[in-house]
Structure formats: C-alpha cells, structure tokens
Amino acid sequence: MSARNVLLQIAQVLTVLIVAPLIQGIIVQFEERVQRAQGPGIFQPYRDLWKLFHKQLVVPQTASWLFWLAPIVAFTCMLTVPILIPVLTNFPLPESDMGDILGGGLILTLGSFMIVLAGLDTSSAYGGIGSSRAVMVSILAEPTLILVFVGITLLAKSMLPFVVNHLLVSSWAVYWSPAHLFLVAAFFILLLVETDRMPIHSSTHIEVYMIEEGRILEYSGPLLALLKWASAMKQFILYTIFCNVLLLPWWLSIQGTAIGAFGAALALIAKFIFVACFVVFVETAQSRLRFYRYQEPLAASFVFAVLAIIGTQLG
C-alpha cells in the first residue's frame, strides 16, 4: 500500500472521470464527419455538462426518493469500477481485488438497474417504455455477457483481469487462438448493444424509438448532468475492458512512474480512437433493426461465446 500506488489508483479514477466525455465527443464528431456534417466539436460534452450544472433542477411531482438516489448511485458505481480494472497500469493496485471480472460486471449492472428504476419512478409513459426495452435488451445480452466472462476465465484460468492481460501480452499463440478471437467478436457485439449503438439505437430523437434515453427524459439540471456523465463513463469503462483486457493489452504502465501513467493515458485515448473507428463504421453502415430482430446480433454473439468456450477446451 505505497503512496505511489494509492496515487495511481486515484489517477485511474480521475482519468475515467475526466476523459470519458472526451471519448463521447470524439465518437460523435467522427460520426458527423463521416456523414459529411460539421459536427459539434470534440469538447462539446464538456460544454454540455457545464451548462447542465448551471441549470435549474426541476423535479416532477410524482417523483420519489429514488429520483434523487438513482443518479448518485449510478455515478458512484461508475467511479468504483475503474478501481478493479487495468486502466493505466498492468499490475494490480490497492483495492483492485475488491472484485474480479464478475464483480465489475455486477457493479456496472447495478448502475444501469438504478437508472431503469428511475425511469419507472416518475410514471411517465416514455420512461416506462424506455425502461422495459432496456430491460429486454439486457435480458438478451446479460447471459451472453456472462458467457463471455466465463470464456475469459477459462482462457486465462483466473478471474482477475490483470492475469488475462499478462497472458495475452506474453503469449502470441493465445492471442491469436480461435478462443480469443471469438471472445473479441462476441464482446464487440455486446459493446455495441450495451453502449446503445447501432443496430439497436435510433438516430432520430423520437421518444417512441428511444431505449436508453427514454429512461432519463424526466431529468434536468445537475442530476441530468450526473446521468449523462455516468453513461459516458460506462462507455469508457466498457471500452477500457475491451481494449486493455482483450484486444490491445499493451502499452500499460509497468513500473508505475508518473511518466508511465501519463503515457498509458495517452495510449488509452489512442486505443479508443482505434476502436471508435470500427464502431463508427458499424454505425454508419447499418440501419436500425426492427425491435423483434434484436435477438439476431445477440444470438450471433451467443454463438461466438459458445465457440470461444469450446476453443478454450481444445488445448
């Protein structure tokens, strides 16, 4: 429990906190540019958060204590998960064995769950639709996510993300093995689904089509800022797990020096831009699926996860 490690741990959480809106901005800007529009600039989410923190808070009459609690819980959960995963360093920091991969997934789901409850809390129609749809998507996606975690565990014979990271860095054969490639594919599809991208997401802002945004329609002011920040951080965390644990496990700080940590943060942004390119490509190349066809990409993800698990059994 050296002071440097504690500082690194705090730096990880701060990185997630500060850089998350930047990633959101980059993705949105890329999309707009690909579609030959001007785009709002990559720092727009920061400006949005600043604006929202200075706006008045309006609370519906039908809201209860859950209305206040949900954004705080979600925000806190998103601050907790970076402690468990490799963000800047590839060695475990203090308190990172508080939870393993499954525990991290649990805390992420807790945040989403609270927001789903908040969507139902105000008894508005669109909140109810948004919440029920979000729950349906997660019913389809969560078993596959668990299977992906099982696959990762079987691949590395351990449930700690750091062990997986070391294994993939040290062995080319494991990196290019079919199990790992299928896990990457399965997790990519789940990434698209969990961060509400195509083919789930609707690009028109009509309330009837909304899934994730429908839950937070009743919020305003600082609470809305917290919720938006929390969803940006969830995206960041999922991308971090994808990159640092599965896809690009290199360029993490090994010694833990300040320069190393700073370099790891920059490398993290670079990795995100790499993944964001693919995500933007999928977003612009596909159109939204009908609601009854949401099972198809998730079934494909399920197949990938099963094939990955089988791949881990074959030596």
Partner: protein, 226 residues
C-alpha cells in the same frame, strides 16, 4: 503425420481453419438471403481447400495438393457457379416463410456444437488424443453434420436444401482431411466428381420442379400422403 506429433503451429493452423469453416456454416444458418448462403458456402469451400493444402504440407502427402486444387476448383468455384445460375433462373431471393427464425437456428446450432464436443471428447479419449487437434476435427465434422441436417429440416427452399446437403459433405471432407489424410487418392477424387454430378442432377430436378409443380418451396409438396 501422427496427430500426437504435430507441431504446435500446424495444430493451431488446422484449428483456425476448421473453426473458420464452422463459423461460415453458422453464417449460413443465420442468413435469410439465398445469395448470402451461397457466398458463405463458397468461402467455406475455399477454407477447406486451404486446410487440405496445409495438411498436405505438414504430412508429406503431396497428392493432397492436387486434392486441394481440385476442391478449390470444383467445390469452391464450379459448384457455387452452377447453383448461382440456378438461383438466377428462379424467382426466389430468400426464404419467405421461415420455419425457424435465423437467430433461434443459431442458438440451436450452438447447442449442437456443444453436443458434438462432448461426443468427440469421449471418442478421442479412448485414443488418448484429448488435447490435440483430433478433438477439434471430430467436433467440427460432427457439428457441421448436425448443422447441415438442421438446415435440411428448417429450410424449405430447394436451393437451401441442396446447400444443406453440400454442407454435410463439406463437414465429412474436412474431418477426413485432418483425421485420415492418407485415404487413397482415388476415393477422394471420385467423391469430388460425384458431388459435381449430384449438383448437376439437382439443377435438372429444380428445373422440373419449377415447370411441373410451379414452385421450389417444399412446403407445397403435399400431394403424396399416407
């Protein structure tokens, strides 16, 4: 080439190609459009031809290069071209009445793969080959068989059924390349040509179906009962 003495690079190469072809058969299961189905089949045949060549390289049976070239030519190019011509002549693009949704077929296919894995593990265990590519070869062979039968069962378009039959044959070919590369050349050649004749016959029969029954969908073939 004894399976126990394969180098790790060879093992993983065979494994990669086998899983790629299994993946392509899942693509076939999950697609509704006949053209996508056909392209996935062609890609799968190319992968199997590459596997044949790889097995020929590592095992020293140089006649497998000939088999690989012929597989690429016949299964990979000629057969898809013949079927493509049949599709062009027909008025159908996709399965209109779906008996089992593609996503459900994918899940059922994944369950088949799990079943095939358990059977192959048992079979390979008696030869003490548990940790080698033999288990993967048997698994892929059996699961492609089961997936082929699933396609025959849940697809009602004539072309889809023909492609399901060809997937069955592809699975056996793939398994035989890894497990028994020393199978006599004559047998492999004749089976290859036999497939060509089979597809030619199918082409003629599909033509008859269109002319006399009016449709290629087997949901309409209900005249003979009892």
């Amino acid at each position: 080439m004894a399976i126990q003495s394969l180098s790790p690079l060879a093992s993983s190469l065979f494994g990669l190609l086998a899983i790629a072809s299994l993946l392509l058969s899942f693509v076939m299961l999950g697609s509704r459009w006949l053209k996508n189905y056909l392209y996935a089949f062609a890609a799968e045949s190319w992968v199997i031809a590459a596997l044949s060549a790889a097995v020929g390289y590592y095992s020293g049976y140089s006649e497998l290069y000939l088999i690989a070239a012929l597989t690429l030519l016949f299964r990979g190019l000629l057969l898809p071209y013949l079927i493509w011509r049949i599709i062009q002549r027909l008025a159908v693009d996709r399965e209109i009445h779906v008996i089992l949704q593609p996503s459900s077929s994918l899940v059922v296919g994944a369950l088949f793969v799990m079943f095939a894995l358990s059977v192959s593990y048992r079979v390979a265990a008696v030869f003490h080959l548990e940790l080698t590519v033999a288990v993967l070869a048997l698994t892929v062979m059996l699961s492609m068989k089961l997936i082929g039968f699933l396609m025959l069962a849940v697809r009602h378009e004539a072309i889809s059924q023909v492609l399901g039959l060809l997937v069955l044959e592809n699975g056996i070919f793939l398994g035989s390349q890894i497990l028994v590369p020393g199978m006599p050349l004559l047998i492999e050649l004749v089976i290859l040509f036999d497939l060509l004749i089979v597809v030619a016959c199918f082409g003629v029969l599909v033509g008859y179906l269109v002319t006399h029954v009016g449709t290629t969908s087997s949901l309409e073939l209900k005249r003979l009962v009892g």
